[in-house]
């Protein structure tokens, strides 16, 4: 389980996943935050009001998927890098996964990288679609990956193929 391995279980994930109907409508944030810890920047970062106000700072984020437009503002504010955006409508065979990334080198648009799952294992090749790395993000880049659709709920990291 998560507390022993650091890898969220299927049950963990099932409890926070947006419904298929919502996924079919476009990009949406998924907070893979499974522990009650004293932390609330995600709530304060959401301009859509999609992350419900915390009654207690130890509450876990509850996302109103109907209010979330997948903008990703919350992603670079989360100290745990635990929020991702998935867009299942990106293509017929590909989905978009947005990943918070704090390693160098930052990949370039068009680059092919190795998509990695939550256990640290490579699962597929992925293409860099966009790199967001503005001052507001304060050194937490958001990298948009196009991945084969079947892996959109598995890919949560990537490795660049080689250091330039």
């Amino acid at each position: 389980m998560l507390a022993e391995t650091g890898i969220p279980t299927k049950e963990n994930l099932a409890s926070i996943m947006p419904p298929d109907e919502r996924l079919a409508q476009g990009p949406v944030a998924i907070a893979e935050c499974f522990q009650n810890i004293p932390c609330d920047p995600c709530y304060h970062s959401c301009k859509q009001g999609a992350i419900q106000e915390f009654q207690d700072i130890n509450d876990r984020p509850q996302i109103d998927f109907n209010k979330c437009n997948g903008c990703g503002s919350c992603m670079s504010r989360c100290p745990g890098l635990a929020i991702f955006v998935v867009d299942a409508t990106y293509g017929d065979n590909e989905a978009l996964v947005k990943i918070p990334y704090e390693f160098l080198p930052i990949p370039e648009v068009g680059e092919i990288v190795t998509a990695i799952n939550r256990a640290g294992q490579p699962v597929a090749d992925a293409k860099i679609i966009k790199v967001q790395n503005t001052k507001v993000q304060d050194r937490t880049a958001i990298i948009w990956l196009a991945v084969p659709k079947e892996y959109m709920m598995e890919v949560r990291h990537f490795k660049v193929k080689e250091v330039r």
């Binding site: 650091g6 522990q35 810890i37 004293p38 970062s45 207690d56 390693f103």
Partner: protein, 358 residues
């Protein structure tokens, strides 16, 4: 003999917050730190902090350190002594400080001890080989001096520090072979753990290090699985080729000055060792001596900053300084502290603090 209203020992998050808050009420402060910089451990903390907005959550320790240090340095009420070591506190209320080979005697009306903590170590054969480091040292090498400690690291301890330093090693281009943890559960926030695991670092709970391998330096480590009684299970030994073994097995409060001052101390495992008894004002059993931050019990930087703020306000208020918002300010800090410590991960701290109140 230097006379001063408030002397603060330690220029980390607690000491800086104490200095700013005491001076805000008008008190004159001397802030003493043995390093040549202010900020304490904050200056190595490149990751974003947890907590609430008021506690600067989502900001990075390095940025908080810079900002607080600048504020302190430009404050007319605060005199900063860096590269200055507090040598002792004597019964006549004199604090002796060594700076650049000279001894300075300070007679403060109030003292705030914010000396932080020291790393614990671990007993195993060959733990004296070059290549065995404390996590704080590794973090200093990597994040302060820009030096790689080695090529491949075994991290011992899956608390927040072990996991975060592992992440920072990865960011620095150093491989982390594994994080091992003797306890059955990961002590770090799980989001941190998930972050390093997906970056390729396995975490093995119920595992310990049996010995370091090497003659003149670390060449590897032997790890093994632990049973229910924390004993190594024969046959589970595994050898890892690493050139650094990084120990992150806990901190203990740095309390020498408090002992010397005659403060009543008590052993509280939940807080990391011996800690001073203190009242809600953070004043110890010796009137006029306050504590803030890890020296009062190992916690984390946000709590240290709030305790510092509280000790600073209280020490200044006890000298007769006040402002219109003093009561609210204090109440606000107390409420934030209570919030931080309120959840399940704060349980240990709450249990510990219950044992050391005056």
């Amino acid at each position: 003999m230097r006379q001063i209203e408030i002397a603060i020992v330690g220029g980390g998050p607690a000491g800086l917050a104490a200095a700013l808050n005491a001076s805000k009420l008008g008190a004159r402060v001397i802030l003493i730190d043995r390093n040549d910089y202010l900020g304490g451990q904050l200056i190595k903390q490149t990751h974003r902090f947890f907590g609430s907005k008021q506690q600067r959550a989502s900001e990075r320790g390095i940025d908080i350190a810079l900002e607080l240090a600048r504020e302190v340095m430009s404050n007319e009420h605060i005199e900063v002594l860096t590269k200055a070591t507090a040598l002792g506190y004597y019964e006549d209320g004199v604090l002796l400080v060594e700076q650049a080979g000279k001894i300075i005697a300070i007679k403060p009306e109030r003292v705030i001890i914010a000396t932080g903590g020291a790393e614990k170590t671990l007993l195993f054969p060959n733990n004296d080989l070059p290549g065995v480091y404390g996590a704080g040292a590794v973090q200093t090498l990597v994040n302060v001096y820009g030096v790689k400690p080695g090529q491949r690291v075994l991290m011992v301890g899956a608390g927040n520090i072990g996991v975060i330093v592992s992440y920072q090693l990865l960011q620095a281009g150093v491989e982390v072979a594994a994080i091992i943890e003797a306890a059955p559960r990961i002590g770090a926030y799980w989001v941190h753990a998930a972050k390093v695991v997906r970056a390729g670092v396995p975490i093995y709970t119920r595992h310990t290090i049996l010995r370091a391998i090497g003659e003149r330096e670390v060449k590897g480590a032997v790890i093994a699985q632990l049973d229910e009684n924390w004993q190594p299970i024969p046959g589970t030994e595994r050898e890892l080729a690493v050139d650094v073994i990084c120990l992150s097995v806990g901190l203990t409060p740095l309390t020498e000055l408090l002992w010397q001052a005659g403060c009543q101390m008590t052993f509280v495992p939940e807080l990391g060792g011996n800690v001073p008894l203190r009242n809600e004002q953070l004043e110890t059993s010796v009137p006029g001596i306050y504590v803030a931050g890890d020296v009062g019990g190992i916690e984390e930087a946000s709590a240290a900053m709030m305790e510092g703020a509280l000790a600073g306000l209280n020490a200044a208020a006890s000298l007769g300084y006040t402002c219109d918002t003093l009561i609210d300010d204090r109440q606000n800090v107390l409420q934030q502290l209570a919030g931080l410590r309120s959840g399940p991960v704060g349980e240990k701290i709450r249990k510990g603090l219950a044992q050391c109140s005056l």
